[in-house]
């Protein structure tokens, strides 16, 4: 048997944590909340709160991803998600690089297969993907050895956003089971809505979605949520009010007559807050169009947790990166533990 370098107690304990975590995950990718089991969501939540503790200590640095390479591949523009993943990687000690929408190969029309192979050959361990096409991360996951994290694909899913939303809800409400959550805005084009509906319904929340009829996918009622066309009806007695970004830049097909009319009928206002539970919190994935989805006084309301969501985003992404890496390492780690065990046995005798 090949001799291996003895591990320190801390390293050994980290390894055991990883192995335990990896056992509970079914995949080394995170493609969507639709695929996750409630136990997996709980594992990510627990890990995220651990990460949040790490972020609150003075030396915000761990070595969990040391020697691992993470590439953030953002084929669509993003500020906070990209930065949030980038910071998460750095706090975990990973080597990171990024590709953006304006990078040469994408502009030259390189296809996704070639991009996948190029990244593969650079021994990427984890690939974080934001892409304008629904299913692009799934495509990459099926063709690469690396772990793929979906950082938002087209109109399909944005799982880490749903996870950070859940983390924020747990922080303020203690638990998600039994919560009533109103989601208001452009449901049609929203991957945040889809991920939240899958995720929240799985762990026992009631989700209501309110959008103008022209921004409601026609078969939304067949997803695990209640469809409302009236934002006020949706907000009655809820614990959480979440606004969704109206993509004004994509408003060429005129899904509503004017911003004025949208804000009047679908904007989250003081009346919505009145209808909701007195301790209801206000959320928004950002960036918010002030005065469209909600006026600034709601965005900055004392019950608004929008800024806290951003902070939790880093913790959740650290948790996801840590766990997926653990899953990747699982097989090798198990082997190493076996060897350690046999070494220890020899010493004991």
């Amino acid at each position: 048997m090949a001799r291996i370098k003895p591990l320190t107690t801390a390293e050994r304990s980290a390894l055991r944590t990883e192995v335990e975590a990896a056992k509970q995950l079914s995949s080394h990718h995170l493609l969507g909340m639709q695929d996750l089991k409630p136990e997996e969501i709980k594992l990510i939540m627990d890990t995220a709160f651990m990460m949040k503790n790490i972020l609150s200590i003075r030396t915000k640095k761990t070595a969990h991803l040391q020697g691992r390479s993470v590439i953030t591949f953002f084929a669509e523009n993003s500020t906070r998600t990209r930065l949030s993943f980038d910071m998460a990687c750095k706090y975990l000690g990973a080597t990171t690089s990024s590709i953006g929408a304006s990078d040469a190969s994408l502009k030259k029309g390189e296809n996704l297969y070639d991009t996948a192979k190029t990244l593969e050959m650079m021994s990427t361990d984890i690939l974080v993907v934001r892409h304008p096409q629904s299913g692009a991360p799934h495509y990459l996951a099926s063709r690469m050895d690396a772990s793929v994290v979906n950082a938002g694909d087209g109109m399909n899913e944005h799982p880490t956003q749903a996870l950070l939303d859940m983390m924020t809800m747990i922080e303020y409400k203690g638990a998600i089971k039994g919560l009533k959550v109103a989601i208001a805005g452009d449901a049609m084009h929203s991957r945040v809505m889809r991920s939240n509906v899958w995720a929240l319904s799985k762990v026992g929340a009631e989700v209501r979605v309110a959008a103008p009829p022209t921004m409601t996918p026609r078969y939304l009622d067949q997803m695990p949520c209640i469809v409302c066309h009236d934002v006020r009806e949706a907000c009655e007695e809820v614990d959480v009010i979440m606004g969704l970004r109206v993509q004004l830049e994509r408003q060429r097909s005129a899904l509503f007559p004017s911003i004025n009319e949208y804000a009047h009928f679908f904007g989250i206002d003081a009346e919505c807050l009145e209808l909701a539970r007195p301790d209801a919190i206000i959320m928004h994935p950002g960036p918010c169009n002030h005065g469209v989805e909600m006026p600034t006084y709601i965005h900055e309301h004392e019950r608004s947790v929008i800024h806290e969501q951003v902070a939790n985003g880093v913790a959740v992404r650290m948790a996801v990166l840590f766990l997926l890496n653990a899953k990747r390492n699982a097989k090798r780690a198990e082997l190493e533990l076996l060897e350690i065990q046999s070494d220890t046995d020899q010493i004991d005798y």
Partner: protein
């Protein structure tokens, strides 16, 4: 690669089961025709024990990609795949490059098919110049050169007034307009059926009304003018109902559907499966059942493949960016037989009619028949052995099929066109 199967002066096929009568007997072929007896000893005797003889199948809707897109398919490979699927005539749509909107392209296709020698090619000319939907193409001249019908296929004629002109003008030359019914504005760049799948997966959906509304428009124009129209690949319950109602009113409308619409639903798209991306899109189970109902009651006259070869690169993409379409020539009869005949929906005779006599009427061809005096066009199919479909066996250049691994019966073992072998599995002729 031209047809290089040996040519025989005459052929005797014995122990062959007739598709219509179910009787076992002999068929004699001489000088390209069925004859009652041979004038000389048979050069080739085929013992077709266990096989069923069908008249040569006709596909009214294929894409051969030639000229212009030979990296996907050409007339040699496309017609070879057709023979492999039991077809003796196929009608290619005009979306080539250049578009088949002038006589030289029509002639080129017919001549190249004759050179290949695998299957007749009956070109469908473009209804409008460049399939642009603005000016009539040279329908009369193309008809004279051998174009059997006219269509802008995948680029639906958006203007009702243009469609009216095309129908009127083609009727004068005894040709029918084939309409791919899809209102482009309602379809709105959708990539799959608008339904639970598009909602859940965050894909842009094509509503069934995009198809229904244009089918209604075409039948009303045909009714007003008193001329005929053919509706391509009906995929919706609404479309079937509209065609049924139009036929009841006496409108001269015929309609086709494809094996994928009676076999698959939008569920096949799950997992972003681009092989299941096709236009019109795979619909719901209710639509699939309505299509079968339409085939049963005769609303849908024809089964066509919409054989649409694509290069691997054009399918191995993000779902929304992948091309529409699937190859279908070689799975057509096995799907018809397994899903419709064995499935208890159609008799073998009714199924074969939708692949032979009805297509012949639409394309103004002589109906294929095993009767003495008819052109010796036939295919021998094995209706007993179930084989999992293996895309690697295809003679097409393309492999874009969602039917991989499906257990099917009815694969053609031998195809003969005008007395010449065009496909031979070797099972029957091996010595």
């Amino acid at each position: 690669m031209k047809n290089s199967y040996p040519v025989y002066k005459n052929i005797e096929i014995k122990n062959i089961k007739n598709w219509q009568t179910g009787q076992t007997g002999e068929l004699f072929i001489e000088e390209g025709k069925f004859v009652s007896e041979l004038t000389a000893p048979a050069e080739l005797v085929i013992d077709a024990q266990g096989m069923t003889a069908l008249p040569g199948l006709i596909d009214v809707h294929v894409h051969l990609r030639d000229p212009g897109f030979e990296y996907r398919e050409d007339i040699f490979t496309g017609t070879k795949a057709a023979a492999h699927g039991g077809f003796t005539a196929v009608a290619p749509m005009p979306n080539t490059n250049p578009v088949a909107d002038t006589v030289p392209v029509i002639r080129y296709q017919i001549e190249k098919a004759a050179e290949a020698g695998y299957c007749r090619v009956l070109p469908i000319g473009a209804a409008s110049k460049g399939q642009a939907g603005r000016e009539l193409a040279e329908i009369g001249l193309m008809a004279e050169a051998g174009a059997v019908a006219f269509s802008d296929d995948g680029v639906p004629i958006a203007s009702a007034s243009m469609m009216r002109k095309a129908m009127e003008y083609a009727a004068f030359f005894d040709r029918v307009i084939i309409s791919h019914c899809e209102d482009p504005e309602l379809a709105n760049d959708g990539v799959c059926n608008e339904g639970i799948i598009s909602t859940e997966m965050g894909l842009k959906g094509i509503p069934s009304i995009a198809e229904d509304i244009m089918i209604d428009r075409e039948t009303r124009i045909a009714e007003y003018l008193g001329c005929s129209v053919h509706i391509a690949h009906v995929s919706t319950a609404g479309g079937v109902r509209i065609v049924r109602e139009a036929k009841a009113r006496g409108v001269k409308v015929t309609a086709e559907t494809c094996p994928h619409y009676f076999t698959l639903t939008e569920e096949a798209v799950r997992g972003f499966n681009t092989y299941a991306k096709v236009n019109p899109p795979l619909r719901t189970e209710a639509d699939r059942l309505a299509v079968i109902e339409g085939l049963k009651d005769g609303t849908l006259d024809i089964i066509a493949t919409d054989h649409a070869p694509h290069h691997e690169d054009e399918k191995d993409l993000e779902f929304s960016l992948a091309n529409n379409g699937m190859i279908g020539l070689e799975t057509c009869f096995p799907l018809v037989y397994t899903k419709l005949v064995e499935g208890g929906h159609l008799s073998l005779a009714d199924a074969v009619e939708k692949l032979t006599a009805n297509p012949a009427i639409l394309l103004k061809q002589e109906a294929p028949s095993l009767e003495v005096g008819s052109s010796a066009d036939l295919t021998l199919v094995d209706l007993d052995e179930a084989v999992a479909y293996d895309a690697a066996t295809s003679f097409s250049k393309a492999r874009n099929t969602p039917f991989r691994g499906m257990e099917l019966k009815g694969y053609p073992q031998l195809t003969i066109m005008a007395g010449k072998i065009t496909w031979d599995s070797g099972k029957l002729t091996a010595k």
